[in-house]
Amino acid sequence: MRDRPLILGGLIVFLALVTFPVWYNAAAGTSSRPPQLKLPAGQKECVAPVAFMKTSHMQLLIDWREGAVRNNVRTFTAYNGKTYNVSLTNTCLDCHGVQARAGQADFCGRCHDYAGVTPKCWNCHNDRAPESSKQ
């Protein structure tokens, strides 16, 4: 019975620590919303349906890479019949970079940062961000 204040106090501190992520984020305004991507202005269609891209864009990019570099297959016929040039910088970033007036950091980077992944595309492939493209 002597220890009741100590125990209660300890319990309260423990609960505060355990629920820290919840109340801290709520208080500080850094929320756990999914990241907001900067979408292109004009285009409404991607090279594949949005649902597919959300789950499998990595596989599509790998297929494009192997196809273009190793098998010299440089055109892609999309689900809607349109043909696209197989190129990260010139096709993907044409819409998601140039037409969105953004670069990979405002599209690709948003989800990758949130998920904590760092694919090494941009060491070689050129970004189309307005400030970074020099000609």
């Binding site: 890479r65 570099v69 190793r70 010299n72 440089r74 190129s87 910088t89 010139n90 090494k120 060491n123 070689c124 492939h125 050129n126 189309r128 493209s133 020099k134 000609q135």
Partner: protein, 254 residues
Amino acid sequence: MRITRNRFLRITGISALAVAGRKLARLFGGPDGAAAASPPVRWAMVIDTQKCLKKAGCVDCIAACHKVHNVPEIKDRAHEIKWVWKEPFKQAFPAQETAYTEEAYKGKPFPVLCNHCDNPPCVRVCPTKATWKREDGLVMMDWHRCIGCRYCMAACPYGSRSFNWVDPRPHLRGIDIEFPTRTKGVVEKCTFCAERLARGQAPACVQACKEQKALVFGNLADPDSDVSRLVRSRFTLRRKPGLGTNPEVYYIVG
């Protein structure tokens, strides 16, 4: 296992017939048969050095190639990257030099590049097949797969390959957005502009040599192409032919 002589001979004979029959079938019949016999495309280049050397100090081909492919300009010669460059006669054709070639070609270096050999030693040694020989003759590079071991650089007898010792991007003067750069740690070389060939364009160096038209590029498997006619009508040299690499860049040396 006990087998009679008769049965043994019968089995051997039928097996031999089967193998021979399959080989014949592949040669004449089958979809691969005809195509495997002679490839429809074999890219090659002929460099007319007489035309090239007319314009002293010209580096149009080098400038065009390095610009279009984002090849960095690194002052330190130990770290330099070059896809096409110039060599004096002695380095380009060591077996053909005489006591007088140095004087004859003083101040007249030859443009050299990857020879896209028929029997490339670099392809043979690559542990990851980051470099491989395409069916149309190009020795290709896949920078996603290169691990930077530089075995290919040791194997190439022509010095055509360069390693990215440092990050190339700070050394680029302006980026051609359409073509990627490379990163530190991979080996690069001329790829006969595979991406331009896919669009039906000539390689950048060939297109850049507008005045002299010293670089001729084409399909050696086509008997009517410019390169075919040139190699069949003029005396041509190749670099270090005795090594058995079978280079496909021919030099008309006058």
